[in-house]
């Protein structure tokens, strides 16, 4: 049984790590972009950011003072049991969010949308969000916290099959152009694209594609992977860099996730995970051991299954084709 005290303590550490330590995969991607960037202003910005990540780690202070809206992703192994059950788990995650807001410190960004009530702890109605997924086997629980900004860089549109790939490219460019100017999207960013599902799932998939896949990771479907690379290149050919200055570093990577959708539609969402791509992950094992990492490994073959039941052999065949 997974001890809840360990879950709470781990969640607190994750809040701290997410706010302060830039994940290695994003850092490597940004360094590559900084080397390639030849716009004076854009280049200055990227080097200032690299310096900022170092300062954050050295001083143990938040890399960006807009510490976003902290949220949680929980993946549970099928054999995992939690001391106190899911209710205790949610209390631990809400508690860690509140304590870390004071402890790191984070900015208490979460307020009521109408009355602007602020509990000063990033906890309130439907906040922090907690999303769940499951995995066959395993007595562990994976906790991922993401502190994504919440104002700019995201949009949704109902496209139709007739709009085709050229329609997808246009809406993608529209989002980058609209939010890239003056750098509102805080680019260069990891761009997540959700395709399909219903409106809600389309948005969820796009956000998870941006926040829960690492730089360099490709969709296992080869044609989707190809489109990811094509969209990344397209974004970097706008002529726009960091802060919307002339340059070529707009997209550090592009990830696409698909969900089966209504036969008449092709809904699309676009999300930008910013220069402070804050995510931190830990696995808590049944015996209380904790392992920290930065790759959420959220989109497993099981998550992307197409069959009624779980048929790993059939899936591995399909995904290797």
């Amino acid at each position: 049984m997974i001890p809840m005290s360990v879950v709470k303590e781990t969640a607190l550490t994750l809040m701290d790590k997410a706010a302060i330590e830039i994940p290695d995969d994003y850092l490597a991607g940004l360094k590559k972009a900084a080397e390639a960037e030849d716009g004076d202003l854009s280049s200055f910005v990227l080097h200032a950011m690299l310096e900022n990540y170092e300062a954050a780690k050295e001083d143990r202070r938040a890399m960006c003072a807009d510490t976003g809206v902290p949220r949680w992703y929980v993946k549970m192994g099928n054999e995992a049991t939690l001391e106190g059950g899911p209710v205790a788990l949610e209390e631990a995650l809400r508690g860690a969010t509140a304590e870390a807001t004071d402890g790191v410190p984070l900015r208490p960004n979460r307020v009521h949308p109408l009355w602007r009530t602020d509990h000063n702890n990033n906890v309130g109605l439907n906040a922090p969000e907690i999303e769940y997924s499951f995995e066959p086997g395993g007595d562990w629980i994976d906790l991922t916290t993401v502190h994504k900004g919440g104002l700019f860089g995201t949009d949704y549109r109902m496209l139709f099959p007739g709009d085709g790939i050229e329609g997808i490219k246009r809406f993608y460019l529209d989002c980058l152009m609209a939010f890239g100017k003056r750098g509102l999207a805080c680019q260069p960013a990891i761009i997540g694209v959700g395709l399909g599902g219903s409106k809600d799932i389309c948005s969820v998939l796009g956000k998870q594609a941006a926040c829960l896949r690492t730089v360099g990771d490709r969709n296992p479907d080869p044609r989707t992977a190809e489109l990811e690379l094509e969209l990344m290149e397209l974004g970097n050919s706008i002529g726009m860099g960091a802060m919307g200055f002339v340059g070529k570093s707009m997209v550090i990577d592009c990830h696409i996730e698909c969900g089966y959708t209504h036969t008449g539609g092709m809904p699309m969402s676009v999300h930008a995970f910013c220069l402070s791509s804050r995510r931190a992950v830990a696995r808590v094992h049944g015996d209380g051991r904790v392992e920290y990492r930065t790759d959420p490994n959220w989109f497993t073959p099981y998550m992307r299954r197409e069959t009624v039941g779980w048929e790993p052999e059939a899936e591995s065949l399909r995904q290797s084709v």
Partner: protein, 226 residues
């Protein structure tokens, strides 16, 4: 001081500043600040401009640099504060308050994320001999955090909360910022947008207009969007 500013002109200013101090700042100049800066955004603007509450006495003699920002801060049990990091928030949203704000606060520098429009600069900044700086990145929060030497005062903390309170912060080598405007009201972002605009038609070549349009793409609500 920030490395990597190699090719860009860099200036250090002592607060409060005079308009004379700002005359050598060009758009695209890298700026560092010393002295006291204060945060003020919609919460403070509403209080002072709409509700007519008084600003702290002699504010402009202490500081005339208004940061559109909320700190990542904690108030301790003994009443002291810690600020970990500071990062600007998008300035364009505050345009409607600026005319009154300049009159009441006598601010000469506005800092935030992403600057404002040259229309706002010419209308509100130029007559007041003021300029607008943008934060860099965005989110050089840790670098700005390092420039903080102390908290001089916090106003309206209980009513407005951490994010909206007016923080008066003592700073040294606080930056980097980039000048988006100069005393003539030019905008760096608009200059860059114009350069990028040149390539846009080619960029969109071959992409396809969506079958279903949206309001916003037409301003006439009498139109159909199909």
């Amino acid at each position: 001081m920030g490395t990597g500013s190699g090719k860009l002109k860099t200036v250090s200013l002592n607060l409060p500043v005079t308009t004379e101090d700002l005359k050598d700042i060009e758009i695209g100049t890298v700026v560092y600040l010393n002295g006291v800066v204060y945060t003020a955004r919609e919460g403070v603007y509403k209080k002072v401009i709409q509700d007519g509450e008084q600003l702290p006495a002699h504010l402009h003699e202490i500081s005339n640099a208004n940061f559109h920002c909320s700190p990542a801060a904690t108030r301790h049990a003994d009443g002291t504060y810690t600020i970990g990091a500071m990062t600007g928030t998008a300035s364009f949203r505050f345009s409607k308050w600026l005319e009154d704000w300049f009159r009441i606060s006598k601010a000469k520098i506005i800092m935030g994320k992403g600057g404002m429009s040259s229309k706002d600069y010419k209308k509100y900044f130029v007559p007041n001999g003021a300029i607008c700086l943008t934060t860099v990145g965005y989110g050089t929060g840790a670098l700005l955090g390092r420039g903080i030497k102390g908290i001089r005062d916090v106003h309206w903390y209980d009513e407005l909360g951490v994010a909206q309170a007016m923080w008066m912060v003592e700073v040294e080598n606080f930056g980097p910022f980039i000048a988006d405007s100069d005393l003539e009201g030019n905008s760096l972002f608009e200059r860059e947008n114009a350069k990028i605009r040149e390539g846009v038609d080619k960029l969109y070549e071959g992409t396809k207009e969506p079958a279903l349009h949206r309001y916003g793409e037409t301003g006439d609500r009498g139109d159909e969007v199909i």
